[in-house]
């Protein structure tokens, strides 16, 4: 079971308190009606499916209830960082430095 750091509660807590909420930094278009069918399908269905560090969303559903972002390595399942919704996407190279 993963231990996850909630950036709002500033505590590291067991996975059972959290719910996964799919890939992060996929913004819903501001005016969906202006978006082409192709771009809308891309937004709805296509995800990066990376092997390695993935930007993803979690919700501290049985805690503060906030959605937040995380970078997790899909190979090791290790969290590289978590950060508040709305914060900029952290730079990967700074996160992977110093990892074994």
């Amino acid at each position: 079971m993963l231990l996850i750091h909630c950036p709002y509660c500033n505590e590291t807590l067991p996975e059972v308190e959290f719910a996964y909420a799919s890939e992060a930094h996929i913004a819903r278009p501001a005016k969906p009606s202006d978006v082409s069918d192709e771009d809308w399908a891309e937004f709805l269905f296509m995800r990066s499916n990376v092997k390695g560090p993935l930007y993803e969303r979690w919700r501290h559903i049985h805690g503060c209830g906030r959605f937040f972002n995380a970078v997790r390595d899909t190979v090791t399942d290790k969290f590289l960082t978590t950060y508040k919704a709305g914060d900029p996407r952290p730079d990967l190279s700074s996160l992977t430095e110093g990892l074994k």
Binding site: M1, R28, P29, D37, W40, R59, F67
Partner: protein
């Protein structure tokens, strides 16, 4: 004393006799025995039959890796467990055990005909044998496979034991209490760290228990062990025996199963049978040791053929000689020591047969000193004996040629093919492995976890090496936790590290097709099966494994994986790492369902939420059903009524006068704030701006893909406050979705969302008399068509209770939903119930609710929709606010596929012959077309117990809205039913009954 018990040997208490039964026969063992050691002390080797060929089998090992000696254990009613390892189960007075896979008896088994039909059951037989003729499948093959499948027999009674679970946090968890683990524990404990040391055995010590000859720091091994355990306990180390580390999960969470009662003659009161520990450790030391490898040769599965190291354990730990005239067959030094120990304990070792040409002179001298014959450069090609080995055939090997054979009479064959490090938990961590050519084994490499692996589990043999590595890795762990550890050295005398070589199957003079040289004993996989799998095209070890079932038995390949890999690699002409090793997965050893379930059984299996009115329903003998973790009254049968009769009566009464229904479980979300209306506009399909306070509206919630997710009536209580209802099962999902959009897409909106499902009790009144019944209790609003029309809501007082009153209908009748604070629900219910007697008020449950709503064509999300249905598909385009700039799902609805003609659309169906359709039945347009037919939809709801004069159904049918009045067909196993497409509204299409 039993025939094979050696006085003065072992750690068992021979002064305390223990009586138990095996297959109905009584045996005597002593305190400290396992079932296997006690049977062996009585000269019993035959302990079971194999799974596929029903070959007679005995214990091959002495520990949890044992693949053969699986037994059923019984302790009175309900306490039966199959597939217990006889080598692990400790005996106690009165224990009943039985062998498995035998019919009619262990010594004479008719299933052994499978053994003669060997050719039929070779590799891939599951995939090949039963393919032809097709017609044989149902009547011959499947019944045969079902009868033969499965190990042992499942218990038939409910388990009367209880199981506990606990959390534990520590600095260092050490798995394995052999010399490696003990040294690591000391290194960590002396630095003041919180240390937990676990071992699956009944006592700590690991290999030290089997090697009393060793001396550590000048003390005999067992004295040193006792003193060391005392010292560790004094240092605060938590030592847990009979505790198996079954799984290594993320971030150093290790699952332990502690067995508390299986070894006790009397069950202590209030003690769980097993306790599951979830340990979160800062650092983990894996010291699981190594497992001895069998040698692969014809007849290596005969009872009496066992691992040399296990024979040593039976002697030194349990005081049991596994044979009086054993022969040793080995490719590793370790088995020589077994020969010496057994000879010194009174056995007459017939020979030491070693496949190697060169053996350490010290070993040769020791053998000579004892007068044991030695055969170097020899192979073994056969065993004989019916239910127990009686001879071993050995042949000299020179220059790759197998010479003529010679029989050695014996009563046991003790084999050793070297040792395989135990990498199971290391593999659970996704640790990477490297192939070691010298030792012909995989060794641990890197792991992403905060974990070290030490001792024999990384290929270091002998007690001294284990102690040194344990101390060193213990120090590494101490330093990883920010402390400074000391260097410790242990002096060991009479150590037995040893070396050896590794084999695929042993060379033989038998024709390859005849040899039954077993690799996986439990699944009856032979070397020939593995080579056949390669010949038939399997290239990866993962394919070979699944084709042959090698390593797929309950021992998870502890004995068979490496031998299987060596043979498959040889057949493929590739190096082992290119062929690969299959992944070890939790649990390390078979684990009871009870341990996993813990407290979550019976009524605690799942949360059961009850409304305030539930107790009333229970008193009225309601039949309940679970809905979204709620317990809901399904119907209220009167004496002698079945469900159909009760529902028919409840439906009729509701349409005739008034029905009362507990709707408290409906999900409720309070949407509040200055931007509440804007939020609602964006979330739901409907327009909300013009909905006046005091009015409510049926709302549809879509996903951004355009498909229906949920629905419910939503009341605008004031300008900035909405009372949103959701489906019973959808409440949490809807709130999560709303929070998601609010927090991450529209954080600028000033809105608060609160789950209020459990704050309100909701009583629904439906029927022509509903208004008459309710009106006298309501203060603050008059229940007339003018002052409180259909789809109104208001905060008022009902029977003196603060209430939110809704005029809504899910039945097509005049309807009200009265929400009062949850704890007042039953009081309100009883007030209305008493007053309703003059109208013949009838309580109804969810079943009647389903029928009445279907008669009006009201959908149930998740029953009439399936996640691919749009509002237009349901004929609810009227609920979509087309003038809004955006709402969740608006863009999705414009996708070409969702605009396409001929989508499946919700319609009504009336059968021509008046029969009731089956929900889920498939629909076709042309019943005469060739099979497989083109299916054009399915029945979603179907009832024949309502108030209509014929059965009704709702269905999704391709292009259904354009096909009113046309006939479709529903093919069933016995006949094809014709049905006419109709409107979804079967009762009161003009809604006249909604009017007061």
């Amino acid at each position: 004393m039993s025939q094979y018990r050696v006085s003065g040997r072992g750690r068992v208490d021979t002064s305390r006799a223990v009586t138990f039964t095996f297959d109905g026969k009584s045996y005597r063992g002593v305190q400290g025995d396992t079932v296997a050691s006690a049977l062996l002390a009585n000269g019993v080797h035959l302990m079971g039959r194999s799974f596929k060929y029903h070959r007679p089998r005995g214990a091959i090992a002495a520990g949890s890796e044992e693949p053969n000696a699986l037994i059923g254990t019984r302790r009175g009613a309900g306490r039966f467990e199959p597939n217990t390892r006889a080598t692990v189960q400790e005996i106690w007075d009165g224990l009943e055990t039985s062998s498995q896979n035998k019919f009619p008896s262990l010594k004479f088994d008719v299933g052994a005909v499978n053994d003669a039909a060997y050719m039929l059951f070779s590799a891939g037989f599951y995939y090949k044998t039963f393919m032809w003729p097709r017609s044989f499948w149902d009547k011959v093959y499947e019944p045969f496979i079902r009868a033969a499948a499965g190990l042992g027999v499942s218990p038939t009674e409910e388990d009367p034991d209880h199981y506990a679970s606990r959390n534990l946090h520590c600095d260092v968890l050490i798995v394995g209490a052999g010399p490696t683990g003990l040294a690591a524990a000391r290194a960590a404990a002396v630095e003041g760290l919180r240390v937990v040391l676990v071992d699956e055995n009944a006592e700590a010590g690991g290999t030290l228990l089997s090697e009393p000859q060793a001396r550590i720091d000048g003390k005999p091994a067992w004295d040193w062990l006792a003193a060391e355990l005392e010292a560790l306990k004094a240092l605060g180390v938590k030592v847990m025996t009979r505790t198996t580390a079954i799984a290594y999960y993320h971030q150093n969470l290790i699952g332990l199963v502690e067995k508390l009662t299986d070894h006790l003659p009397k069950l202590p009161a209030d003690t769980p049978r097993e306790r599951l520990w979830r340990v979160r450790a800062k650092q983990v030391v894996l010291a699981q040791g190594a497992l001895e490898k069998p040698l692969v040769f014809h007849g290596n599965d005969r009872p009496g053929v066992m691992l040399a190291g296990s024979a040593q354990t039976f002697l030194n730990r349990y005081g049991v000689l596994v044979g009086k005239r054993p022969v040793i067959l080995t490719s590793h030094d370790a088995a020589w020591y077994a020969a010496f120990d057994l000879q010194d304990a009174g056995a007459q070792v017939q020979a030491i047969v070693d496949t190697r040409a060169d053996v350490d002179a010290l070993l040769l001298n020791e053998a000579r000193a004892r007068g044991i014959a030695v055969k170097l450069s020899h192979t073994a090609t056969a065993t004989s004996g019916r239910l127990r080995v009686s001879s071993l055939r050995i042949n000299p090997v020179a220059g790759g040629t197998v010479g003529s054979g010679q029989e050695i009479r014996c009563d046991a064959v003790l084999m050793s093919g070297g040792w395989t490090p135990s990498l199971h938990l290391f593999s659970h961590t996704k640790g990477s492995l490297t192939w070691d050519d010298d030792r012909t084994t995989f060794l641990p490499n890197n792991t992403p976890e905060d974990c070290v692996i030490a001792g024999a589990s990384r290929g270091l043999w002998g007690i001294e090496a284990a102690l040194a590595d344990g101390a060193e890795k213990g120090r590494a762990v101490v330093e990883a936790l920010g402390k400074t550890g000391a260097q410790v050295a242990y002096a060991v005398e009479a150590d037995r590290p040893g070396t050896g070589v590794s084999h695929k199957e042993l060379p033989t003079d038998l024709s390859a097709g005849k040899a039954k040289a077993f690799v996986d004993f439990q699944n009856d996989v032979t070397a020939k099966d593995l080579r056949l799998a390669v010949r038939e095209g399997m290239r990866s070890i993962e394919h070979v494994k699944r084709y042959t079932t090698n390593g797929m038995a309950t021992d998870q390949g502890k004995m068979s994986n490496i031998n299987g890999l060596n043979i498959a690699s040889d057949a493929l002409g590739k190096k082992q790492p290119q062929v690969g090793l299959t992944t070890f997965r939790p649990p390390y050893t078979p684990t009871s369902f009870g341990a996993f379930a813990g407290y979550h059984r019976g009524e605690h299996f799942e949360v059961t939420r009850k409304t305030d009115i539930d107790s009333w329903a229970e008193a009225k003998n309601a039949v309940f059903e679970p809905v979204g973790q709620w317990r809901r009254a399904r119907y209220f049968p009167k004496p002698g009524e079945d469900m159909d009769a009760a529902v028919r009566r409840e439906c009729a009464a509701t349409r005739a006068s008034v029905g009362i229904f507990d709707a408290s479980t409906l999900g409720k979300i309070e949407v509040v704030g200055p931007d509440a209306v804007e939020f609602m506009n964006r979330m739901y399909t409907n327009p909300w701006t013009k909905l006046a306070p005091g009015r409510c509206r049926y709302g549809l919630l879509l996903g951004d893909d355009g498909y229906i997710r949920d629905d419910g009536v939503i009341g605008r209580m004031s300008e900035d406050r909405f009372h949103v209802t959701t489906t019973t099962g959808g409440a949490a999902r809807v709130l999560n979705m709303m929070e998601d959009y609010l927090q991450t897409e529209w954080p600028d909106l000033n809105v608060w969302l609160t789950s209020t499902t459990e704050q309100w009790s909701t009583v629904a009144l439906n029927g022509p008399d509903a208004a008459k019944l309710l009106a006298p209790f309501v203060e603050g609003v008059e229940l007339t068509e003018e002052t409180f029309p259909h789809m109104s809501c208001v905060e008022c007082t009902v029977a003196g209770m603060p209430a939110r009153l809704f005029r809504v209908s899910f039945t097509g009748e005049i309807g009200f939903e009265v929400n009062v604070p949850a704890h007042l629900g039953r009081k309100l219910w009883e007030t209305l119930w008493d007053a309703g007697q003059q109208y013949g008020i009838t309580a109804y449950g969810t079943e009647t609710m389903h029928v009445l709503r279907a008669e009006k064509g009201y959908i149930i999300v998740g029953q009439d929709t399936d996640g691919t249905v749009t509002p237009y598909d349901c004929g609810m385009g009227w609920a979509v606010g087309k003038k809004k700039p955006d709402f969740v799902g608006m863009r999705g609805l414009a996708r070409p596929d969702l605009q396409a003609k001929n989508r499946k659309q919700l319609v009504g169906l009336l059968t021509e012959d008046g029969s009731k359709l089956e929900e889920g039945a498939q629909i076709v347009f042309d019943p005469k077309q060739a099979i497989p037919m083109t299916m054009v939809g399915h029945v979603t709801s179907s009832y024949d117990i309502g108030t209509t004069d014929q059965p009704i159904a709702l269905a999704l049918v391709a292009g259904g809205h354009e096909k009113m009045g046309e006939t479709v067909y529903i093919p069933m196993p016995d006949r094809t039913i014709a049905a006419k497409i109709t409107s979804t509204v079967f009762v009161d299409p003009d809604n006249t009954r909604l009017k007061i």
